[in-house]
Subunit: 341 residues, 2 copies
C-alpha cells in the first residue's frame, strides 16, 4: 500500500498536529511530546510538520493562553528531529509580527503560512513579502472561510498570490462545511489562481475526511490533516485515515500507511489525553459556525456565567464572532444570562 | 431547527445505540443504561430504538459473548419507556430462531430486522414470513455488503422484498465504503425494489456521516445512526451529527436537535466508557473489510498469539472472513505467527 519514494505525490499532506492540537491541551505540549511525534511523522514520510502555539507565532499570551514553551524552543526542538519532512509555522498578523517570522526562519521553518480572516487578505501583503525575502515558502490561508461566498474567497486568494503567496487556500475553522460547500469554494479558487490550493478541515459535523476528499476532487493539492484528528474543537481531518482513503482512491501521498499508523499511535499515547470526539457542544459550534479554537473559552464562560454552552455557541454564531474576539465571549454569555434568566 | 410534529419526515432515523453499541462493551449494558437512553431517545422523537445483544436475538453465547441481560429483559425494559418511538430488534438466522422472533414480538418489538450475509438472502425467507405473520414490520438487511457488486445486492434485496420484507437495505459492516461506493449500490437497489431502503454505516474510514448522506441522496430513506456513534469497531454514523447535517440540508427527520443532543449526552455519561474513535486497528479493519464486531476478538487473538493486530486484520481481510466465523480468528493468528515468526 505504500507509494514508492520516487513517485511524486499528487496530494501533499501538511500536518499541524503539533500546532492545531495545542488548542486541545491549552497550548501545553512539552519538548518530549513534540520530539516524539515529530520523529514518528518524519519517519512516516509526512511532507510537512507544522509546530507552534495553537494560534501561531507570537500568540502565546495571557488572553489567548500561554504556551508551555516559547516559539524558539518549539521550533528548534522539532527542527532537530526532521531529516526529510519540512517544518511549517503558522502566523496571523496581529498576533505575530515580521520579527516572529524572521526568528522562525532562523530556527529552521521552511514554510510560513500567513493567515487572515476570509475577507481581509489585504493584511497579509507585508508578511508574505517578508517570508519571500527570507527565502522560505510563503503560503496564504483564509480563516473562517464559510463566512464568505466562493467568489469572494477566489478574489481574496488571488490577492494573496499577487502578494507572493506560493500556495493559498481556505480553512474551515468552524467545522461548518458540507462536502458540496467545499467543492464549490475550492473550484472557484482553482479557476482564479495558478498555485497549489490548500484545504484545512475540522470535524464538528463528522465530515472532515469527506470534505478533504471533496477538496482534492475540486483541485486542492495541499491538505491539512493531523494524527487521530488532534486539533481544536472536534479536531481536524484524521491524517492516517486520509492516507488510507486516498490510497484506496489511487491518490499518492508519499506517506507509508504502516508508518503513519505508528505515528498516530505515538500521538495517541504521548501527545493527547484522548482523541478528539464530536460532543454536543462541538455539533452546536459547527452548526453555528463558531471558531473551533473557542471551545475551551466558551465552555469556561458558560460555566462561569451559568448559561447553557449550546445556547452560547448558537448566540456567538448569530453574532458572527471570529477568532481574535475572545473578549466578546464572556460579554455574549452575560447578555444571554440577562436575556434568559 | 426542529421540524414540526405534523411534518412527515423524509428520512427515518433508526437508532441501534442499544444494540450495535453492545459490541463496544462486550454486550454488558444493564437495565439502568437501557432505560436511561431509551427515555431520552423517545423524548427526542427518535422514530425507532433498536435493542438487543450486539449480534441480535438469540446470539448471547459463550463463543460470541454472553450479554448481561437476556433478550426478554432487554426488550421489556426498553418497551416500558417508549411512548412514541417504535422498538426494533435485529436477528441473523443461525444465531436467532423463529421462537426468538415470536418472543420479541410478544415483548413489544414493532420492527424485526432479518439479516443475512450479502449473498445469502435466501436464508431470510422463513423468518421474514414469521415476522409478517406475527404482524410486526419485517425488514431485510445484507451484512458485509461491500463484498458484493451493486447488481448482486439489488438482486438480493429484490429477493427479500419478494419474501415479504417491507424495507430492505445494506450494512457497511466493515466500515469499508467511500461515498461513491454507497451511491452506486443504493442507486442499484433503488432501481430494483419499491420499498424504503436502509443504510447502516460504520466509521472506520471517517466517512459514516458522508456515506449516510450519499445513501440519502441515492434514495435511501431509513438511515441507522447511534448516539455519539456508539457501536462496533470505530462506531456507527453519529445520530446527533446526522440530525444536524440533514437539518442543514433541509431534510426533515422529525427529531429535535436540542433533544437529540441531550440524549447523546446521556449516552456519553451513562452508556459508554468513551465515545468510539478511529484507532489504527480500526483503520486497518476498515481498509481490509473485516466485520466491525470482530474488533475485540481480533485484538485478543493478536495479543494471545503474539502477532501485530494490524497484520491480523489485513490477513483476515485477505481470507474474506465474515461474521459468524469467529473461530477462524485464532486460527489465522496462529498461521500468521508461523509465517512471520
Amino acid at each position: 500500500m505504500d507509494t514508492t519514494a520516487h513517485e511524486r505525490p499528487r496530494v501533499l499532506l501538511h500536518d499541524p498536529t503539533l500546532r492545531d492540537g495545542q488548542h486541545a491541551v491549552g497550548h501545553q505540549l512539552d519538548a518530549g511530546q513534540l520530539r516524539a511525534y515529530a520523529i514518528a511523522a518524519n519517519a512516516a514520510g509526512v511532507p510537512v510538520v507544522e509546530v507552534g502555539h495553537g494560534n501561531g507565532l507570537g500568540a502565546s499570551s495571557l488572553q489567548i493562553g500561554r504556551a508551555a514553551l516559547d516559539d524558539a524552543t518549539m521550533l528548534t526542538t522539532v527542527r532537530e528531529t526532521l531529516t526529510s519532512s519540512r517544518m511549517g509555522v503558522f502566523m496571523a498578523p496581529g498576533w505575530g509580527t515580521a520579527k516572529d517570522i524572521a526568528a522562525a526562519v532562523r530556527h529552521g521553518a521552511d514554510i510560513v503560512r500567513i493567515a487572515a480572516h476570509c475577507t481581509e487578505a489585504d493584511v497579509t501583503e507585508r508578511h508574505l513579502d517578508v517570508v519571500r525575502e527570507l527565502g522560505a515558502e510563503a503560503q496564504g490561508v483564509l480563516l473562517m472561510s464559510h463566512m464568505a461566498e466562493p467568489r469572494k474567497l477566489a478574489e481574496q486568494c488571488a490577492l494573496m498570490v499577487r502578494f507572493g503567496a506560493q500556495a493559498v487556500g481556505i480553512m474551515d475553522s468552524a467545522g461548518y462545511y458540507l462536502p458540496a460547500d467545499v467543492t464549490e469554494r475550492v473550484a472557484a479558487i482553482a479557476s482564479a489562481v495558478d498555485v497549489p490550493l490548500i484545504f484545512h478541515g475540522h470535524n464538528n459535523l463528522g465530515l472532515a475526511v469527506a470534505n478533504s476528499l471533496a477538496a482534492v476532487d475540486a483541485g486542492a493539492s495541499v491538505i491539512d490533516a493531523t494524527a487521530r484528528g488532534f486539533g481544536a474543537g472536534a479536531g481536524n481531518t484524521q491524517l492516517e485515515v486520509l492516507v488510507a482513503v486516498l490510497d484506496r482512491r489511487g491518490v499518492s501521498t508519499g506517506i507509508g500507511l504502516r508508518e503513519v499508523l505508528a505515528a498516530a499511535d505515538i500521538a495517541a499515547a504521548r501527545v493527547m489525553k484522548a482523541p478528539p470526539s464530536i460532543d454536543s457542544t462541538a455539533v452546536a459550534s459547527g452548526l453555528a459556525g463558531v471558531f473551533s479554537g473557542f471551545k475551551r473559552p466558551v465552555l469556561e464562560a458558560a460555566r462561569a456565567g451559568g448559561v447553557d454552552p449550546i445556547d452560547l455557541f448558537l448566540a456567538l454564531g448569530e453574532r458572527q464572532v471570529v477568532a481574535g474576539q475572545e473578549d466578546l465571549i464572556t460579554d455574549v454569555a452575560r447578555r444571554l444570562k440577562v436575556a434568559t434568566g
